[in-house]
Subunit: 155 residues, 3 copies
């Protein structure tokens, strides 16, 4: 007999579309099951909750062999925008919201959103740079306190 | 006294050679120790179990400073294929199987292989697109049920 | 009531600056809280403890939309070095040490550093290639034994 998972704390460290979506889907899937969920945005993952950037998140088309594009094609001007647009349309058809709306929706389910203190300092940011859903800027130590008793998922 | 790990559930989210191998090695290493293991393929990680793609997985040569290639060299036509070939030969010498055989071998040890429902929908795929070793297409919530009582490793 | 986290085992699988720093920050943050910490270097993550490479780790400027550089700009000769230099200066201002010193500092706090046997074999390396802080080269199975009773964080 294994007990149900009670809490999931997802660390979001990447600033690409394919880096952020899996994190949001893991957190959202947890809330849908009644599992407590926290999101901890660190390094380039901060873009997902950055007011000036969260609407401009793109797919990585170079360095992403998963797209099965030739390397030179991935580097063509505009290719990242084209692929991002294609994926966005597919997501829309499937009722998967764009990142800003998805973050808001997850926060509305009661998930806790936090920005990483060290990364905020590194990029010279402050609380005002982030969307209102970010509850607080916390240290890694405070994150471990929050995550205790659950699963940590680093994305 | 810390109890032994009883279960490992590895999420495979990347479609590159250097993204997929560590996931397979973590799952295989678990089974070798008698630890229960699950693999959950999501986003570009689905390529690892996709019949038409699993034999064509490449190393990312651009956006991968770990290779210590000049950025312009990483983008040269054919460079990804050259590096992938080099690594494949080294793996062969070390008896590390190519991805399709490795997936089959891990499934044969009794590990459970699952594809992520949201990603399958996103890319417009179905059960027939995947190798026979994939037991089922499941939701994130079902994944959490499977993973309860063990470690989740997101790769 | 959820018990405090007692142990954190961080797997370092990437060889880029933005891949390695979050891993080191998670391990260092754990030690600062009195949490036991292990670092397991695998695949390109081995660069972080490789004597000949650990001073030359760079930021990925292509395939990293988090930088919000145009793809063609990320590929310009020298761009990775420029961005790496910029970030290094910011880190210096914030007293975040360069990777070699950071690894040493974390080892000095009592964290255990280990290299992955399979990856060491893959790249044809041996114990002598690594900094002295690496205690041992261990298998994935031995890593699971070390990590039992704690959180595994794959970065």
């Amino acid at each position: 007999m294994t007990a149900k998972i009670e809490k999931v704390s997802v660390i979001v460290s990447k600033g690409s579309l394919e880096g952020i979506y899996p994190a949001l889907i893991m957190a959202n899937g947890a809330r849908a099951e009644g599992i407590e969920a926290n999101l901890f945005f660190t390094f380039f993952g901060l873009d997902a909750v950055h007011k000036a950037k969260h609407e401009h998140i793109k797919l990585a088309t170079v360095g992403n062999p998963g797209l099965h594009l030739a390397t030179w094609a991935g580097g063509l001007p505009g290719m990242s925008a084209v692929m991002t647009h294609y994926l966005a349309r597919r997501m829309d058809e499937l009722d998967i919201p764009p990142i800003p709306e998805f973050v808001e929706l997850i926060a509305d389910t009661g998930a806790g959103l936090y920005a990483c203190q060290a990364s905020v300092d590194l990029f010279g940011l402050s609380k005002e740079d982030f969307v209102d859903q970010v509850r607080d800027i916390i240290t890694v130590g405070e994150f471990y306190d929050l995550a205790a008793g659950g699963q940590i998922i680093f994305t």
